[in-house]
C-alpha cells in the first residue's frame, strides 16, 4: 500500500519499522524514515552502530529482521531494486587488470546505461581524462575511488547508497563527491550516505539529516 500523507509526494525510499539482527542480536533498532527525490541524507553513527549494515539491508543484500522497505511506494523486490538502486560499498568492485574504460563497459553491460552519458564523459566529470586506458592497478587509491564514482554516473539508478564515500579521499576528492551528489539531487535522484561521527564535510555539505541508528 502506498503510504501518502496529505500532499506529500510518494517518497523514493520509505523504511517502516526496519531492523536487522545477526545471530538474533539486534544490529540496528526499528527505523522509520523516508527519502524523497532531490534529497541527500547523511547517516551518522559511531563505530559499529550499523551504518554499513543498514545500507546492505536497503540494497537487498541482507534481509531485514522486521519491517519493510518501499521503493517508489512499492514493496521492494530484487529485480526492480537493481534498476533503481546503486550501492557503492567499501570495496570498489574494479578489476585491477582492466582499464577504467573496460571496467565501465562491463558495468554498463550488466546494469544498463543512463541516457545522455558515455563512459568517457563520466570519467571526464570525475577528473580522470587521459586515464581512460590506464589499468586500474596503476591508479592511486584516490583515483580508484573516482572510477567507482564514475560508475554511479553511468547506471540508471535513482537511489544511490554510498558507504563512506569520503574515506581515503583528500580535500579535492571530497569536493568532487559533494558536487556529484548535488548534481544527482538536482536531476531528481536521491542519495543515502554514511560517515563516521568523527568526520565532517569540509565544504559544500549536503543536507544533513542525522539519523539516530539505535544500537
Amino acid at each position: 500500500m502506498v503510504h501518502v500523507e496529505g500532499e506529500t509526494p510518494v517518497p523514493l525510499l520509505h523504511a517502516r519499522g526496519l531492523s536487522y539482527a545477526r545471530n538474533d542480536e539486534s544490529i540496528f533498532g526499528p527505523l522509520d524514515f523516508m527519502l524523497h527525490r532531490g534529497e541527500v541524507v547523511l547517516i551518522e553513527g559511531d563505530n559499529g552502530s550499523g551504518k554499513t549494515t543498514l545500507l546492505k539491508v536497503l540494497s537487498g543484500l541482507l534481509e531485514p529482521a522486521t519491517g519493510n522497505i518501499l521503493l517508489d511506494g512499492e514493496e521492494l523486490t530484487l529485480a526492480r531494486l537493481s534498476h533503481q538502486v546503486a550501492l557503492m560499498g567499501h570495496l570498489p568492485g574494479l578489476k585491477s587488470d582492466l582499464s577504467a574504460i573496460e571496467n565501465l563497459d562491463f558495468t554498463i553491460g550488466v546494469f544498463g546505461l543512463r541516457p545522455g552519458i558515455t563512459p568517457a564523459l563520466a570519467l571526464a566529470s570525475v577528473g580522470l581524462e587521459g586515464y581512460e586506458d590506464v589499468a586500474i592497478r596503476q591508479l592511486s587509491a584516490g583515483q580508484k575511488k573516482r572510477v567507482a564514482l564514475a560508475r554511479l554516473l553511468l547506471v540508471p539508478a535513482a537511489l544511490w547508497l554510498l558507504d563512506e564515500p569520503y574515506a581515503n579521499l583528500d580535500k579535492e576528492g571530497i569536493d568532487l563527491v559533494n558536487r556529484l551528489l548535488d548534481a544527482h539531487a538536482r536531476r531528481g535522484g536521491a542519495a543515502l550516505i554514511t560517515s563516521h561521527g568523527a568526520y565532517a564535510f569540509t565544504t559544500g555539505a549536503p543536507r544533513r539529516l542525522p539519523l539516530r541508528s539505535a544500537a
Binding site: 545477526r22 545471530n23 538474533d24 542480536e25
Partner: protein, 253 residues
C-alpha cells in the same frame, strides 16, 4: 499457514523446544540404556553361536545397528536441512547441525566394526567394495558438513551453508543402501526385511531389532541434548535462555 508449518512454528519456538526436550531427555537416555542392555544380553548371552562363524558373528549386534544409524542420521540431517533452508526454521538448522557429529561417530563405528569383522570373514581389514567405499564417502560427507559449519563465523549462516551441503550429499545415502543389490559386492545383502521373512534366525533377530531401537532412541536423546546447548548459545541474549540457565530471577538484570 498450513498445519505442518504451524506445528513446526510451535515446536520450533526455542523456549518450548528447550522445555520439552529438557523433560524428555532423561527418559530417552534411560530407556535407550535399558533397551540396549536387554538387547546386548540377548545377543551376547542368549543367542546361540553361529554354525559357521562361531562367536565372531556377535559383532553384528554393534555393526548393524550402527550402520543403520549412520544412514538414518544423514537422512534426519537432510530433512532438517531442507526444512531449515525452505522455511528458515531455526530449530531445524540446529537439529541438522546437531545430528552431523553423531552420525559421523556412528559411521566411524560402522567402519571400525566392519573392518574388525572383515578380518576373520574376508581375510582382510579392508577391500574396495561398493558398500565399504560408499560408507567411507559418507564419513567424508559428514566431515565436510561439520568442517563447513565450523569454518563460518556467523552461526546461522554457517548452519544454512552446511545444510545446503548436506542436501547436495544426500545422493550418497541410497548408494550406500542399495550398493549390495546394484553391484556385485563382497559385503552381504540385506538379511533383515521389514516386509517378508528375514533370512536370519529369530533368536538373533530380536536382540538385533532391540539394539536398533536402542540406538535410535539414543540418537534422539543426544541430538536433543546437543541442540539444547547450541540453542542456549545462540539465544544467550534472550530472557528465556538466561532464566533457563541461571534460574528464573536472572532474566531481568
Amino acid at each position: 499457514m498450513n498445519t505442518l508449518t504451524l506445528w513446526f512454528h510451535q515446536f520450533g519456538s526455542p523456549p518450548i523446544f528447550h522445555r520439552v526436550t529438557a523433560r524428555l531427555s532423561p527418559w530417552l537416555y534411560a530407556s535407550a540404556t535399558l533397551i540396549g542392555f536387554i538387547g546386548l544380553y540377548g545377543g551376547l548371552v542368549l543367542a546361540p553361536a553361529d554354525y559357521q562363524q562361531s562367536d565372531a558373528y556377535r559383532i553384528i549386534f554393534v555393526h548393524v545397528p550402527c550402520a543403520w544409524m549412520s544412514l538414518f542420521a544423514y537422512f534426519f540431517m537432510a530433512i532438517n536441512a531442507f526444512i531449515a533452508l525452505v522455511w528458515r526454521i531455526k530449530i531445524s538448522e540446529i537439529l541438522a547441525m546437531a545430528s552431523a557429529p553423531i552420525g559421523a561417530v556412528f559411521t566411524a563405528i560402522t567402519l571400525a566394526t566392519g573392518s574388525i569383522w572383515g578380518k576373520p570373514m574376508w581375510g582382510t581389514w579392508w577391500t574396495w567394495d561398493a558398500r565399504l567405499t560408499s560408507e567411507l564417502v559418507l564419513l567424508f560427507l559428514y566431515v565436510g558438513v561439520i568442517g563447513l559449519y565450523n569454518a563460518i563465523e556467523d552461526r546461522r549462516q554457517a548452519a544454512r551453508a552446511a545444510a545446503f551441503l548436506a542436501l547436495v550429499g544426500i545422493v550418497n545415502v541410497p548408494i550406500v543402501h542399495f550398493s549390495v543389490t546394484w553391484w556385485n559386492t563382497l559385503h552381504q545383502g540385506s538379511t533383515v526385511r521389514l516386509l517378508g521373512p528375514s533370512r536370519i534366525d529369530s533368536s538373533m533377530l530380536w536382540p538385533l531389532l532391540l539394539l536398533a531401537l536402542a540406538t535410535h532412541v539414543w540418537f534422539f536423546a543426544s541430538v536433543f541434548a546437543r541442540a539444547r546447548v547450541s540453542l542456549l548459545e545462540l539465544e544467550s541474549g534472550k530472557d528465556w535462555a538466561r532464566s533457563a540457565v541461571l534460574g528464573p530471577g536472572a532474566a531481568h538484570d
